[in-house]
């Protein structure tokens, strides 16, 4: 279905009342507030021209509302501090059973005035004396590893070491691979020289595919792309090419799905994991099973392959597919009933966590402010954990707790503990869970949390980064407190200190190697224009000393009126040794910075940011470092620079669209 099919849903604009002149002649229009260079006038309309009786009545109504709000807030507060877990995995037994499970879910949603389910009945208190038995196989996989000096090549900026994330440009040291429209462009590189572009068309006669992304292994070039709109259900394609010959060796296709995300677990035999959502389609008395296609052949599932947790909203399939990329390519999958599109996905070499936000309407409160809406609700997150092992995917259990997991960086697994930062206005927190053995089962237990003083009034979490025992959290409405939290005792997380600056960081990262103890932040400059609202004025890039209790800002670079891709996409950021690079979007300039240690005026060690290289290139661009040379790549250009930051070579290509297809592509969303 194309967007042009939906264009027919329109209205006759003659039906719309024309009240323009009536408004322009109104008192409010003619006497409206005008913003000038001078300070705004504080003159207000005088409301106090009433008799006493209505005034007393008004005061009484206000007091009544306050009392009701206080009661509902108290109820809401206690709900916010509860959590539940569910480790009871079930399997669908038959076609009719699938229908029963889904119908039960729907009726629970409809009938339960508490939203999805009441937290009161299922509250779970932390077991203070619990000690872990055979701690689950979590690996300290974040922030590990130093830069290898033997073969100096940078990598995609990813969250977890050895768990790669797809991107539009990849480099294996011998070649640069770039996405360009309907093609992959491949260029040999060697000591700054760039070879002729080899173009691989992803699919013949395809007019509408979107967002190709790349992975590389020692054996294969893997390309993911979809037919259809970015967010809608469509066909997801995986093309696997021999890395040497660039010959297509295997294809995988899944239809009527949306790809939530993917990851590649590195190792001797890398394994690609694809996380899909597939909506239930009615099929007579029940629902269709998920479908796959491998090398053109359909793979069939059975109803008994589908598992579920009772605590999830079972109206959608979550399908996780693993593709082993060894000498032989093997495909496995796991299907679970659950919720829809996952808001955040965190993956390590041994675990997958999927998080999604829900709303609990049981503590409705009345709001008379038309800008804040009329519904009251609590924000809760459902988190599902799987373990992965050699391509086998096993659901473990769920956690349901108050707050929203804003992105993948808000979750972390370390030393047997699962840490999660949860955002909710005036109720931000960081929780620490452990999987403890209870009889024959492992259960999640909340062992510690920080839920006070994280964020100032009306603030939510904007960015998070975990680094072993430390967590940095930025909350913001307009100003940006950065909190440093000590997680070395998981049962007693403590806010060590904070740093306030204007605007807020949307991405934080600790630096490694010689720059351990420093962190960078990317985000936005904002300006307050009223009590509730602000405007973005541009972006900022900051360097912080995070060795002490209170983070210290060492340097701030501001970019007025522009928004770099790296503010919202961590893969657009180049971080390698002491280099940081990203496209600032100021005249499309890609800027490479170095972060260099210095000694300040008092003889103390510090660090500064220096500009090394600036080059104008497409907005969506990536930088790689290979053996003393930098390679800057976009869909239409590949440029190399030497270690003195001088340009060596450049290849310019047309964008990879065949024009007949391109015309139709333009009509898409």
């Amino acid at each position: 279905m194309r967007k042009r099919d939906l264009k027919k849903f329109n209205i006759n604009e003659n039906e719309i009342p024309d009240i323009k002149e009536r408004i322009k002649n109104s008192y409010e229009f003619k006497n409206r507030k005008v913003i000038s260079e001078e300070a705004p006038s504080k003159k207000r309309i005088n409301f106090f021209n009433r008799s006493w009786a209505p005034a007393i009545l008004g005061v009484g109504v206000v007091i009544l509302v306050c009392v009701i709000s206080l009661i509902s807030t108290t109820i809401s507060e206690s709900r916010r501090n509860s959590y539940t877990t569910d480790m009871s995995l079930n399997y669908v037994s038959s076609k009719s059973n699938l229908k029963e499970i889904v119908n039960y879910s729907k009726s629970r949603e409809k009938n339960n005035s508490a939203g999805w389910f009441s937290l009161f009945g299922a509250s779970f208190k932390a077991m203070e004396d619990a000690s872990p038995v055979d701690a689950p196989n979590s690996i300290d996989s974040e922030n590990g590893g130093e830069y290898s000096e033997e073969y100096a090549i940078s990598e995609t900026n990813k969250q977890v070491e050895n768990v790669d994330e797809a991107d539009v440009v990849k480099c294996d040291g011998n070649r640069v691979y770039r996405v360009s429209g309907q093609y992959i462009y491949v260029n040999d590189i060697n000591s700054g020289n760039i070879g002729e572009t080899i173009k691989i068309k992803l699919k013949e006669n395809n007019k509408s595919f979107i967002n190709p992304e790349i992975y590389l292994t020692d054996l294969y070039l893997v390309v993911l792309f979809s037919d259809g709109w970015y967010y809608s259900s469509s066909t997801i394609n995986v093309n696997i090419y021999d890395i040497e010959t660039l010959e297509l060796v295997k294809t995988y296709q899944s239809k009527s799905r949306s790809l939530n995300t993917s990851r590649l677990v590195m190792g001797n035999e890398p394994i690609l994991y694809l996380i899909f959502n597939q909506y239930l389609v009615e099929d007579g008395s029940s629902y269709e099973l998920p479908n796959e296609e491998i090398d053109g052949k359909e793979v069939e599932y059975d109803y008994s392959d589908i598992c579920y947790f009772n605590t999830l909203r079972n109206n959608c399939y979550t399908v996780i597919v693993s593709i082993k990329l060894g000498e032989e390519i093997n495909i496995n999958s796991q299907v679970q009933l659950g919720d829809g599109y996952w808001d955040a996905v965190y993956m390590t070499e041994s675990s997958i966590y999927l998080a999604r936000v829900h709303y609990d309407y049981s503590s409705r409160y009345i709001s008379f402010n038309v800008f804040e809406g009329y519904d009251g609700y609590d924000t809760v997150s459902v988190i599902v954990k799987y373990t992965i092992n050699n391509g086998e995917i096993t659901p473990i259990g769920t956690i349901r707790t108050a707050g929203q997991v804003i992105n993948q960086f808000a979750m972390s697994e370390y030393n047997g503990y699962f840490r999660v930062a949860l955002s909710q206005i005036n109720n931000n927190k960081v929780e620490v869970y452990r999987q403890d053995k209870d009889g024959e089962e492992y259960k999640f237990k909340l062992v510690g949390k920080v839920d006070k003083d994280l964020g100032e009034k009306n603030e939510v979490i904007k960015s998070v980064t975990f680094n072993k025992d430390i967590c940095l959290v930025v909350t913001a409405k307009n100003t940006d407190p950065m909190y440093k939290i000590d997680l070395s005792d998981p049962t007693l997380p403590v806010i060590m200190g904070k740093f306030k600056e204007d605007g807020y960081n949307s991405y934080l990262q600790y630096l490694k190697g010689d720059l351990e103890g420093y962190a960078i932040g990317l985000g936005y400059m904002t300006e307050d224009i009223s009590e509730y609202y602000n405007i973005r004025k541009g972006a900022k890039f900051g360097l912080y000393d995070v060795t002490g209790d209170n983070p210290v800002q060492l340097q701030l670079i501001e970019y007025a009126d522009v928004y770099p891709e790296a503010c919202e996409n961590h893969k657009a950021l180049f971080i390698y040794k002491n280099y940081v690079g990203f496209n600032t979007n100021q005249q499309n300039k890609y800027v490479l910075y170095s972060i260099d240690k210095t000694i300040d005026g008092e003889g103390n060690e510090s660090a500064v940011i220096n500009v090394k290289l600036e080059y104008a290139i497409d907005y969506e661009s990536r930088l790689y470092f290979v053996n003393d040379y930098f390679y800057l790549a976009s869909a239409s250009r590949l440029v190399s620079f030497d270690s003195d930051y001088q340009k060596v070579n450049e290849v310019i290509d047309d964008y990879g669209y065949d024009y007949e297809d391109w015309y139709d592509y333009q009509l898409m969303d």
Partner: protein, 171 residues
């Protein structure tokens, strides 16, 4: 900052240029109308709430965050005013209650949008009609719709997919 034309007009309007309102009105009237039309069908009622919406928007336009989405901002005002009015009076409007509606819309003239609403109303799901209106008829993005309805983008996406399936017979 490179703002879109609508935001530029908002800035000019805030600085006192009356003529800028013409552009603002023309660009947003469909969005405002449809935000109210989901709840009320009476022409008089829609006009009243449209007027209230624009007056409220004029009064609070200095609070709008330039560079976000003005259509989503004013849609939220319109929707909330309509909901507040509905809650106050709890009048469920049926198409055949209103002579003017009957005069204006005979069966053969019922638009595809109204037919879609009928299908969605037959088995109503929360926010489905709103997502249909904002996404398909007006063309707002998922994030913007989420801001109007105060729900996450992922929820908008879910609802949108369900909605498309329901109205597919009209495609």
């Amino acid at each position: 900052m490179i703002y879109n034309d609508l935001d530029k007009m908002v800035v000019r309007f805030l600085k006192g240029e009356d003529d800028a309102f013409d552009y603002i009105y023309d660009e947003t009237k469909k969005t405002v109308y449809l935000s109210i039309y989901q709840i009320f069908k009476s022409k008089d009622k829609i006009e009243d709430i449209m007027q209230d919406t624009y007056l409220k928007a004029i009064e609070n336009m200095h609070k709008y965050e330039i560079g976000t989405n003005f259509k989503a901002w004013i849609a939220k005002i319109a929707r909330n005013l309509a909901i507040n009015d509905y809650n106050k009076n709890k009048i469920i409007e049926h198409v055949d209650d209103f002579d003017d509606f009957e005069n204006d819309k005979k069966n053969s003239d019922i638009s595809l949008v109204d037919r879609a609403y009928e299908i969605l109303d037959a088995n109503p799901v929360k926010y489905e009609k709103e997502v249909f209106t904002y996404r398909i008829v007006i063309g707002l993005g998922y994030r913007e719709i989420g801001e109007i309805l105060d729900i996450p983008k992922s929820t908008v996406f879910d609802i949108y997919n369900r909605c498309i399936k329901k109205i597919k017979e009209l495609l």
